[in-house]
Amino acid sequence: MNAPAQFDDGLGVETSTFTVDGLRCAGCIAKLESGLPQISGVVSARVNFTSKRVRIDHAATLADEDLLSAIDRLGFKAQLFVGDSDAAAKRESRRLMTALAVAGFAAMNVMLLSVSIWSGADGATRTLFHWLSAAIALPAIAYAGRPFFTSAWSALRYGRTNMDVPISIGVTLTAAMSLYETMIGGAHAYFDGAVMLLFFLLAGRFLDSAMRARAADGVAALMRRVPGDALVRLRGGATQRRLVAELAPGMLMLVAAGERIGADGVVEEGHSNVDCSLVTGESAAVAVSIGDRVLAGTINLNGPLTIRVTAAGEATMVADIARLMESATQGKGRYVRIADRASRLYAPAVHSLAVLSLVGWLIAGAGLHQALTVAVAVLIITCPCALGLAVPIAQVVAAGALMRAGILLKDGSALERLAAADTVLLDKTGTVTLGRVEPLAGIPTDPFERGVLLSLSRASRHPLSVAIAGLLERQGALPVPIADCVEQPGLGVSARLGDRVVRLGRPDWAGAPDTDDHETIAAFRIDRGALHLVTFGDAMRPDAAAAIARLQRQGFTPRLLSGDSARVVDTISDALGIAGGARMTPADKYRVIDEIAADGRKVLMVGDGLNDGPAMKRAFVAMAPASGTDVSQLAADLVFFGDRLMPVPIAIAAARRTMRVVRQNFALAIGYNLLAVPLAIAGQVTPLIAALAMSGSSLLVVANALRLRGAAK
């Protein structure tokens, strides 16, 4: 149990929330939740695994830095979490979920009563059951219908109409008519239909909103990367943790190894390497020392740095780029989703049909009561219940399939836009290639030599060594035991193998003729044995050729857009058999997409770097690898994981299949209306028929969408 929530100093309890990196398993949860309360002053700690956060109740005397270092001692990197923990989309989901629960409860109970009426209950029993239904249905409609009523009302106020207008009118009129029927002891009350309609529609809305909430979570995960606070050294030497927003030029900021830098600045003390991949997309670390400029959002890798802030918050380079991206005209902002387009046509049609049947029956000499009953039946039969489910259910099922294949949807309309794309542009570095150093040639083929090389390369953290070890491990090499590993900085690593000496490192040091290039060539030699010169470079993604071929089969002519030199681009584009543009600045890329879009074509841009950001924003739809910069992932509508390029054609194929199913669903929903509407206009629809038709068509639409479960192939 928790310790008592009161401390001797009487200051009471505060709650702080931190985002934690490296939460992977149940063990991590247990470690944090049992480890933190052992620190004096901490009352309790609760991990939320889904959002990767830990909430700590602690004494007010315990500062956030103390908690951060406590989490650090437990082996996790954490950052103070500030801001709204509850995204708007999530709140919306919760509201819809409770409405759905109420509608579900009411639908079940009203249906129970309706079944007995359909089975022949009449007279006093029927009237009693109608009254009971009304008592359940009317409050339920008032509560569960609110999302539709408010949306319809705000649309009507601005003289527009949307899908919610026919729904609201239909439900309200049906409820009112049924109440009147109940009062006069009539035979037909449609309470079951009205409540069931709300239930099905809310189910569609909830799915849609749950998907958007998940996408918002993904974006929040990316934004987390920029730290929320920084350690500032005050005059007189004391240090204090401040929010990034409170930093100002001239302040001295202390950045420990492993921390993200909170503002742009100049190094005052210390030497270190900085990982700039957030900003440049370049994975190789940059060495910095006194007088060098560093940028917000980059990671300080090995040594502590003292940095004098030159620009903070909105003035930083990262914020600049974010603004540039926002101002990029968005093809997506103007996109009207297919469900909205459908409802624009649908709503007026339904209304005129209902009014026409009312007028028609009046002219034909029917009484007002009978004519109104028919009009209400038309409204409830045409209410877009299957239509409301048609799009969200297909997208949710497809998004689940894609997620299992390592493709994350960030935007609800991404699938619709991806299916419509007709031009594919690819960035080179990091997109078609892996964007990291890989051994290209020179790895020995002899299993024994490979084993020695693996053991040797594991002994060093040098990037080239790490790359060799990674490749050999993936290829299944088995390490050979070696002894006395010694790493000589700048030269290489050596070890003893029996009485022989093995070396991996700079060519001249390992006994080969020297080359100027120490960045991309390393030598490996066992004693006086054969010399292996390993060359390194940015390797292509292993399935790049197959993925491009599949894109071509899908009818695209992919093109490369790269900032690299023509020589490098030509090698890649020749190998893949596609056209490529070299030496392109971010503005060039943006302009190319602008020109293609001006021809009325819809561009899919795949990129990973900061320099691709504006182009990706401009494109009709964009994809980014998860290894790319945060900026590219923010600009992208879809993010894919892993070393393969195949997710691009897979996502396109899945999007096209999804839209095919959506169109089939529309056809099913409208087809059912075409069958049922004449019956309704003829005044032949009883509540039983309405209920059967409604649930039948909804089930059909859901079943059709479930076929998409295997769509990500």
Partner: protein, 50 residues
Amino acid sequence: MTGLVVLIPIALALGLAGLGAFFWAARSGQFEDLDGAALRILIEEDEPLP
């Protein structure tokens, strides 16, 4: 008919109880961390036997 007077209130009360339980669960945050709930079952927290 007389049975109904007893049965219908019972059915409604049971349904309402379920609805109430759902609202309570949603409000007390039981749907906040669905992934974590799946993992917490694996945490070893038994005290050693005396």
